[in-house]
C-alpha cells in the first residue's frame, strides 16, 4: 500500500479529477445529489483558493478548480451544506495566511454569500459571521474590506447595526488615514434612507469620537448624509 502521503495525494487527485473535471460538474449537480460524496471537500477548496491567489504558485492538482475554487459561495442557497465549512476556511485565511494577497482575497470572498438585496432570498447570519472575522483581524486593510462592502449585504438591518457599532467603537489608533470608524461612516452614507437616518442620529448624539470619523460626519452633514458621486471616469 502507498504511504499515508501517497494515499492523500491519490485521494486529492481523485476528488479533483472527478468532481473538478471542471467545477462545472459539481455545480451542475443538484445540491443534494447522490454523487455528493465525490465533490471536492471544503478543505480542498480552501487549499486551492489559497494557491489560486498566490502569485506564481504552482496550481498542481488544483488546476481543474481554478479560477473559482470557492465558487460555491456565489450560489450559497444551492450549496448551503458547503458554506459553513468554506467560510470557516476563508475566515482562517483572512486572519492568518502569511500572504497578504491571499488574506485580501479571502476577505473579499467572505462578502460573497451574503451579497444581495434585502428582498432577495438569502442566507441569514452572514453579517454575524463577518463581524466575528472582523474582530479577529488585526489588519486595518483586511478589516476595511468588510466595512467598505458591507452596504451590499442582503441583511441590511444587521449590516447597519454592524457599521454603527464600528463607527462608535473609537478603537483605531490616531494617525492612520481612513480608520475603521471613518470607513463605517462612509459606508452608512451608501445605505439609503436607513443609513442616512442612522448617520443623523450618530451626528446628533455625539457618539462618534474618532476624530476623522467625526470630521467625515461633519462633511456628510453638509450633503444631507449622502456620499458624493464618483462621477469622473478614468483618465489618461
Amino acid at each position: 500500500m502507498p504511504t499515508d502521503d501517497g494515499a492523500d495525494t491519490r485521494i486529492s487527485r481523485f476528488v479533483l479529477d472527478v468532481a473538478g473535471l471542471g467545477l462545472g460538474v459539481l455545480l451542475a449537480l443538484p445540491a443534494q445529489s447522490s454523487a455528493q460524496n465525490v465533490r471536492p471537500t471544503a478543505e480542498e477548496m480552501i487549499r486551492c483558493f489559497a494557491i489560486e491567489n498566490t502569485v506564481g504558485a504552482e496550481l498542481g492538482a488544483c488546476k481543474n478548480m481554478v479560477p473559482g475554487a470557492v465558487a460555491v459561495l456565489f450560489r450559497p442557497l444551492e450549496y448551503g451544506d458547503y458554506v459553513d465549512d468554506v467560510m470557516d476556511g476563508l475566515a482562517e485565511l483572512a486572519v492568518s495566511h502569511p500572504e497578504f494577497r491571499v488574506r485580501v482575497a479571502a476577505a473579499e470572498y467572505l462578502m460573497a454569500p451574503g451579497k444581495g438585496s434585502p428582498s432577495s432570498e438569502h442566507l441569514t447570519g452572514m453579517v454575524d459571521r463577518i463581524q466575528r472575522v472582523y474582530e479577529e483581524s488585526s489588519e486595518p486593510s483586511i478589516r476595511s474590506v468588510f466595512i467598505r462592502w458591507m452596504p451590499y449585504q442582503a441583511e441590511a438591518e444587521a449590516a447597519v447595526d454592524f457599521l454603527q457599532r464600528v463607527a462608535t467603537s473609537d478603537k483605531s489608533p490616531a494617525g492612520r488615514m481612513w480608520p475603521d470608524e471613518q470607513l463605517a461612516i462612509d459606508a452608512l452614507s451608501r445605505m439609503g434612507d436607513h443609513g442616512r437616518q442612522v448617520l443623523r442620529q450618530l451626528d446628533e448624539s455625539g457618539q462618534v469620537r474618532n476624530e476623522l470619523a467625526r470630521q467625515r460626519l461633519d462633511y456628510l452633514r453638509t450633503r444631507d448624509y449622502r456620499p458624493e458621486p464618483s462621477s469622473h471616469g478614468p483618465r489618461r
Partner: protein, 392 residues
C-alpha cells in the same frame, strides 16, 4: 454522474497491489456511469487515468477571438455523416460561480463563434441509430499586452492637489500635539479610500470597463465579457494649513513677541500677531521650505532615490503585473451585464487593496524624509524650538 476514463486502477482493500482494468475505447468515449463493488469502496481504492484525445476539438484562442469546435476526424469517420451531430452544448462555471450553459445547433459538423470563456463542449454523434456522447474542451486564454497593463502615464501625482476638502475639513493645529498630521496623500478627484480610479466600491459610479455581449450562435453566445478596461491613479499631497503662510494668526505673549519685528507687533501692548509661518520665517528668520520639501517627499517619492515616500511605494505596488487592475478585470465573464459589473468591481478591489497596502500606511519604509528644527507652540502658547521629523 459520468466520468471519462481510459484506465481504471483498483486497489482491493487489504491487498498490496493495484489492478489495472484497461477499457476498450475505439472512440475515446468509454464512460463509467457508476461502479458497483461489493463492500465499501473507498476513494483511495481508485485511481483514474484518462489519455484518450477528446472527440470534440476546439481552437484554443485568446478571449474575444473566434473559435471553431469540430469533431475529431477519427471520430467523425465513424458517424453516419459529417453532420450527424446534434445537441451541441457549452458548459462552464464562471469566475463568479454561475454556471454558463449555451445550447448549440443540431445536425452541424462544427460550432463557431466568438470565444470568451473556457469550458466543456458536448454533443451527440449519431452512428447507425446509436447516440454517441462526444466531449471536448474549449480553452480561452487571457488577453495580454498594453491594453491590459498600465504605466506611469496613467498615474498623476502633484504636490498640493489632494482632495482634502471631503476628508479633513478641519486640520489639527500644529504645535500642541506631538502627533499632529503634517501632510496627507489623497486621491485628487474623488473622496474614497484606496488608490485605483474609478473607486469601484461606489457601485453607483463607473467600474472602469466596457462590457460586451458575445453575439449568439457560437459556444459562448450570450455571455458578457470585458471588451476594454481602463484604470488610473490620480493623487496629490496636501500640507497641514496650520503651518502654511495663510493660516490665522495668534496673539503672542511678551517674551515671544519680543522676538518679532515691530511690523508684526500689531496687537494690544505691541503684542505680536503672527502665525506659525510668520513666527518661524520672520521672527526667527528660519526658512520652512526644508520642512515643506520634506513633507512632500514623505507623501511623494522620497529622498535621494531611496523611494521612501508613500507614492513611490504605491507605484511599486502598481507596477507589479499581478496588480494591474485592467488585467484583473480582463478575465471576468458573466451571464449578464449586471453580474459582469459585480465581478469586475470585485476583482479590481482585490488588487486595489494590495496596491494601497504597498503605499506603506504603517511607515515601515516611508520615513527619514525630514528632521527639521522649527519653533512650535507648546500647550501654553509659548513658542519653543523642537525637532520635527518623520522618523519611524
Amino acid at each position: 454522474m459520468t466520468v471519462d476514463v481510459d484506465t481504471l486502477y483498483y486497489d482491493p482493500p487489504g491487498e498490496e497491489y493495484w489492478t489495472e482494468m484497461t477499457l476498450s475505447d475505439p472512440l475515446g468515449q468509454d464512460r463509467i456511469r457508476w461502479l458497483w463493488f461489493q463492500g465499501i469502496l473507498n476513494m483511495d481504492d481508485l485511481e483514474i487515468v484518462r489519455n484518450a484525445p477528446p472527440a470534440i476539438v476546439c481552437d484554443t484562442v485568446v478571449r474575444g477571438s473566434p473559435t471553431t469546435c469540430s469533431i475529431r476526424q477519427e471520430v467523425a469517420q465513424t458517424l453516419d455523416s459529417a453532420t450527424a451531430v446534434t445537441d451541441w452544448k457549452f458548459e462552464s462555471v464562471l469566475l463568479g460561480g454561475r454556471l454558463a450553459q449555451v445550447d448549440g445547433p443540431d445536425w452541424a459538423a462544427s460550432w463557431s463563434g466568438k470565444a470568451v470563456q473556457s469550458g466543456d463542449v458536448e454533443a451527440i454523434g449519431w452512428s447507425e441509430g446509436n447516440q454517441i456522447p462526444l466531449h471536448g474542451t474549449l480553452v480561452v486564454n487571457d488577453r495580454e499586452g498594453s491594453e491590459w497593463e498600465w504605466t506611469t502615464l496613467d498615474w498623476n501625482f502633484h504636490d498640493g492637489t489632494g482632495m482634502v476638502g471631503c476628508l479633513i475639513p478641519h486640520w489639527n493645529k500644529f504645535g500642541p500635539s506631538d502627533s499632529t498630521t503634517l501632510g496627507v496623500n489623497l486621491r485628487a478627484s474623488s473622496c474614497y479610500p484606496n488608490s485605483v480610479e474609478p473607486p469601484v466600491v461606489d457601485t453607483t459610479g463607473p467600474a472602469g470597463f466596457v462590457g460586451a455581449e458575445v453575439p449568439s450562435g457560437g459556444p459562448n453566445g450570450g455571455l458578457w465579457y470585458v471588451a476594454s478596461a481602463q484604470y488610473s491613479m490620480d493623487r496629490g499631497s496636501v500640507i497641514n494649513p496650520s503651518i502654511l503662510a495663510g493660516y490665522e494668526p495668534d496673539t503672542l505673549g511678551k517674551s515671544d513677541s519680543n522676538q518679532c519685528p515691530d511690523s508684526l507687533r500689531t496687537g494690544p501692548k505691541k503684542a505680536a500677531v503672527v502665525n506659525f509661518y510668520q513666527y518661524n520665517t520672520v521672527c526667527q528668520t528660519l526658512s520652512l521650505q526644508p520642512l515643506y520639501d520634506g513633507i512632500y517627499r514623505h507623501e511623494g517619492f522620497g529622498t535621494g532615490g531611496q523611494d521612501n515616500g508613500h507614492e513611490a511605494q504605491r507605484r511599486f505596488g502598481a507596477l507589479n503585473p499581478a496588480n494591474y487592475p485592467a488585467a484583473a478585470a480582463e478575465r471576468s465573464v458573466a451571464t449578464d451585464s449586471a453580474s459582469l459589473d459585480d465581478r469586475v468591481r470585485f476583482e479590481v478591489d482585490k488588487v486595489d487593496v494590495v496596491i494601497t497596502e504597498k503605499s506603506d500606511p504603517n511607515h515601515i519604509l516611508v520615513n527619514g524624509n525630514f528632521s527639521e528644527s522649527v519653533y512650535a507652540q507648546s500647550p501654553n502658547g509659548h513658542y519653543n524650538q523642537r525637532t520635527v521629523d518623520d522618523a519611524n
